[in-house]
């Protein structure tokens, strides 16, 4: 056996394609903004952009958590309910005490950690598909919130002014909510890409059996992924409370579908193993922007659902097409025996 020349490391075609995948969302976003602005220049006003970013922040935090779970070939449908429970918990606490904002954020995340860990433990030890487990806990968590609230609603005037300020204040012109969402995004993105734990999540989603044989603690990582998703949903609950000020037991109902849509449109494969949280966050931005654009363009809001649905199908179709292309090109690049 003789030594062969080391092949020069270069970007693989898949990497390029994935990049292009996120580029596609950015492009769609650009076209959408352009068309809307031409039709109504007010779309690019400071207030309009601020609204879009604030709404995106909440959805993006949820989408990042969801992406972590979907990458491991699971799904978390309970995030809307966790958001509601967390928002109501924090709201109730703030009615009585003027907690510092940081503490409120921690309490909300803590509620989410508990809910997420419960999801993870049931998925892990019950050996039940995550779809079913989190569909169940979706109703359980929501039911708990309804039972607790008993029809009561928390209004903005009952909340401390400091907390409501946090929902609107900015840091160097950037709303705090957006800063928090960016922090979550960057930290999660770096962990998923550059740390062993993150790569193991991708490995689990790519081939659960191989992950087990490779000695990855699949059970522990599954619980971990759900806990992260829960924690971020809890955090999003606090952001929700700060942004809207009015919290009832129905807060966040139906959010889970928006979140899953953002993740899928953002290019995270539903069968796990590929996709990035950057994509998921971009997906959240795109969906939120569509909502605002339709309002500005005076298109019936009911169309929004159909458009989001079409986007999901388009995203899945594009992924499928790319996958087929990539598979074909990879087959051709077999190895050769060197002499």
């Amino acid at each position: 056996m003789t030594a062969v020349e080391l092949p020069a490391p270069h970007r693989s075609s898949l990497d390029v394609v994935l990049r292009a995948r996120e580029l596609g969302i950015v492009l769609a976003l650009g076209i959408l903004v352009l068309v809307t602005t031409i039709s109504n220049p007010r779309f690019l006003s400071g207030q309009s952009i601020r609204d879009i970013l604030l709404n995106t922040a909440i959805l993006a935090v949820l989408a990042v958590g969801q992406a972590v779970v979907v990458i491991t070939r699971n799904i978390d449908l309970s995030v809307g309910s966790v958001l509601g429970l967390s928002a109501f918990t924090v709201g109730t606490l703030l009615q009585n005490d003027n907690l510092p904002v940081v503490l409120a954020l921690l309490v909300g995340a803590g509620v989410g950690v508990v809910c997420g860990a419960v999801n993870g433990v049931i998925v892990r030890y019950g050996n039940v598909p995550a779809l079913v487990v989190t569909l169940g806990t979706l109703y359980v968590y929501r039911g708990i919130t309804y039972f607790w609230a008993g029809g009561q609603q928390i209004n903005a005037d009952e909340l401390p002014a400091g907390f409501l300020d946090f929902g609107n204040a900015t840091l160097l012109g950037v709303p705090y909510l957006v800063v928090i969402a960016l922090l979550v995004l960057v930290i999660t993105g770096v962990v998923l890409r550059n740390y062993r734990v993150g790569r193991e999540l991708y490995a689990m989603g790519s081939s659960p059996q191989a992950a087990r044989l490779a000695g990855i603690a699949v059970g522990r990582r599954t619980i971990g992924a759900f806990t992260v998703s829960g924690a971020l949903a809890g955090l999003a609950g606090v952001l929700f409370a700060a942004r809207f000020g009015t919290i009832d037991a129905a807060a966040g109902t139906g959010y889970e579908l928006n979140v899953v849509a953002a993740v899928v449109v953002g290019g995270v494969a539903v069968f796990g193993g590929s996709g990035t949280v950057w994509g998921a966050a971009l997906g959240a931005l795109l969906l939120t922007t569509i909502g605002s654009a339709l309002a500005v363009l005076e298109i019936n809001q009911f169309w929004q659902q159909a458009i989001v649905g079409g986007l999901i199908l388009l995203a899945i179709g594009a992924d499928r097409l790319v996958a087929v292309r990539v598979a074909a090109s990879l087959k051709k690049r077999g190895s050769h025996v060197s002499n």
């Binding site: 056996m1 003789t2 030594a3 062969v4 020349e5 080391l6 092949p7 490391p9 270069h10 970007r11 693989s12 075609s13 898949l14 990497d15 770096v190 550059n194 740390y195 062993r196 790569r199 193991e200 991708y202 490995a203 989603g205 790519s206 081939s207 059996q209 191989a210 992950a211 087990r212 044989l213 490779a214 000695g215 990855i216 603690a217 494969a269 193993g273 590929s274 990539v326 598979a327 990879l330 087959k331 690049r333 077999g334 190895s335 050769h336 025996v337 060197s338």
Partner: protein, 501 residues
């Protein structure tokens, strides 16, 4: 070359799954710098041994020692940490991740703040491939690699983990000749670097080409461990099977009865053309020829799963419509297909469901399947065929290859066929089960069933058939009587030229 002290000792390990004892009191030693073959029939317990070394199963009793210290291999991570690498027949890679990442998973080189140093990771992979003498791009995803390349990635994985014991479970099953050569070159260099190699294969020529020592297992027990210089292939086979191989082709002489299957002018452009033959009750007729000569297509067309352009098929005087397996089954035709995993079995269903599937209609009462009748029938047939299984409700996928083939046979024999068509009935199953399948075919023929057998194995064709039909390029080119059929005459007809045998 080999060290004096064993690197890994397997001592009196046993493992049971429910009531089935898969491995009983097996002991053997692996030496550094030596390749050690593990052979045995399907279901002899080889895979269980592999899984114990891999940390997938923990032995019930007994111990595994590495360098004289006992190892508790409770999880795959333990085995990996102990320096044991296992390469499975079906490689276990992560298709979405890059090749470099597949190799480094769990041991990625770390840079600042414990982040993964990707450049170093790719460099390591490239160095490993250079050492193995193969050029696979470390940056490409594992998806789309050929099985052979996937195995090389697995070996690179073992190298990167500094594995001292490398276990290869039937790595050559899906490889071509050239690929096997390359794998062996790599395996030899691993061995020469001091690793202990354990190699599992059904192919004796590979074992003799690669290994120094061989351990033979039968029915979960250790039979013998010998140097390969001290044992012949015949002796190995005898020890594996536990009986003489004279009985491999137990053909009984049967007086042929009336014509059971009559095929006239069967054509399907461009696969086969103008095929005509008869099979009589009590006869075994072999359909021989090279792979791709149209044999499987002919029998599938007879059964009705493939269409036909022209021609007629009669079963006991009744003409079959083309393209209707249902009618063929009703007329008494059974087809045991070539690819049991894809066409013969529903791997996710239980053994009993698989056995009774073609007759679910006749077994049902008022349209409902009652478990009892299914179970009774399934039990009867699996016992007749001496199938080894834990419970009838187990998934068929959990059985060994030979036993799966028996389930396929049971499934069709239970329909009481008049004409039994078998396509490569013994491919990929071990010597002992082969003999049982042959005995079964022979006794079926003796009971008056007409058997049509497609086979690529010349000894099987010559040993079992009353008549040999030879196909070449879609045409029936020769019909040889048992007395005329020799390796030369069949090969001559199949290739159209004088065979050099």
């Amino acid at each position: 070359m080999a060290d004096a002290l064993p690197l890994l000792r397997v001592r009196e390990v046993s493992k049971s799954f429910g009531a089935v004892a898969a491995v009983r009191d097996v002991s053997f030693d692996l030496y550094g710098g030596e390749a050690h073959a593990l052979v045995g029939e399907n279901g002899a317990g080889k895979s269980t041994i592999v899984k114990m070394l891999a940390g997938v199963h923990r032995p019930d009793t007994g111990s595994i020692e590495l360098d004289g210290t006992g190892q508790d291999l409770g999880t795959p991570a333990d085995a990996k940490a102990a320096g044991i690498a296992v390469i499975y027949q079906e490689p276990t890679l992560f298709p979405d991740l890059s090749v470099a990442e597949n190799i480094a998973m769990g041991r990625q080189p770390l840079g600042r703040f414990k982040t993964i140093d990707r450049a170093a990771m790719v460099r390591q992979a490239a160095q490993l491939f250079a050492r193995l003498g193969v050029s696979i791009d470390p940056n490409r995803p594992a998806r789309g690699l050929s099985i052979a390349d996937q195995q090389l990635v697995e070996i690179a994985k073992a190298l990167s983990a500094d594995a001292r014991v490398v276990v290869m479970d039937e790595p050559t099953a899906a490889l071509t000749g050239v690929e096997v050569e390359r794998l062996f070159a790599v395996a030899r260099s691993l061995r020469d670097d001091g690793a202990a190699l354990m190699f599992i294969s059904h192919r004796f020529e590979e074992i003799t080409a690669l290994c120094e020592r061989v351990t033979i297992m039968r029915d979960g027990r250790h039979v013998s461990t010998d140097l390969l210089t001290d044992i012949t292939v015949d002796e190995m086979v005898r020890k594996m099977v536990g009986r003489d191989l004279g009985a491999l082709f137990p053909k009984q002489d049967v007086a042929a009865g009336a014509v059971a299957l009559k095929v006239r002018g069967l054509s399907r452009d461009p696969v086969f053309k103008d095929v005509s033959f008869d099979v009589r009750a009590g006869e075994i007729v072999a359909l021989a020829g090279l792979v791709g000569s149209g044999r499987s297509e002919v029998v599938q067309s007879i059964f009705g799963v493939d269409p036909r352009d022209t021609g007629t098929v009669e079963v006991v005087g009744k003409t079959l419509k083309p393209g209707s397996p249902k009618q063929a089954m009703a007329a008494g035709v059974a087809l045991v297909p070539e690819d049991r995993r894809q066409q013969g079995l529903l791997m996710e269903l239980s053994i009993e469901r698989n056995v009774t599937l073609p007759r679910s209609r006749s077994l049902s009462q008022l349209g409902f399947l009652t478990g009892n009748r299914e179970r009774r029938e399934a039990k009867e047939w699996t016992q007749k065929l001496k199938t080894k299984y834990g419970r009838l409700s187990d998934n068929v996928g959990t059985l060994s290859g030979g036993n799966q083939q028996k389930v396929v046979l049971a499934k069709w024999l239970a329909t009481n066929p008049k004409v039994l068509i078998v396509d490569e009935p013994t491919r990929g199953i071990d010597v002992g089960t082969k003999a049982e399948v042959h005995r079964l075919m022979s006794s079926l023929a003796a009971d008056g069933v007409a058997v049509l057998m497609v086979s690529s194995e010349l000894p099987e064709v010559l040993g079992m058939a009353d008549r040999v039909l030879v196909m070449r390029e879609g045409r029936l080119v020769a019909e040889l009587d048992r007395s005329e059929a020799t390796e030369e005459s069949v090969m001559f007809a199949a290739t159209g030229q004088e065979a050099t045998l």
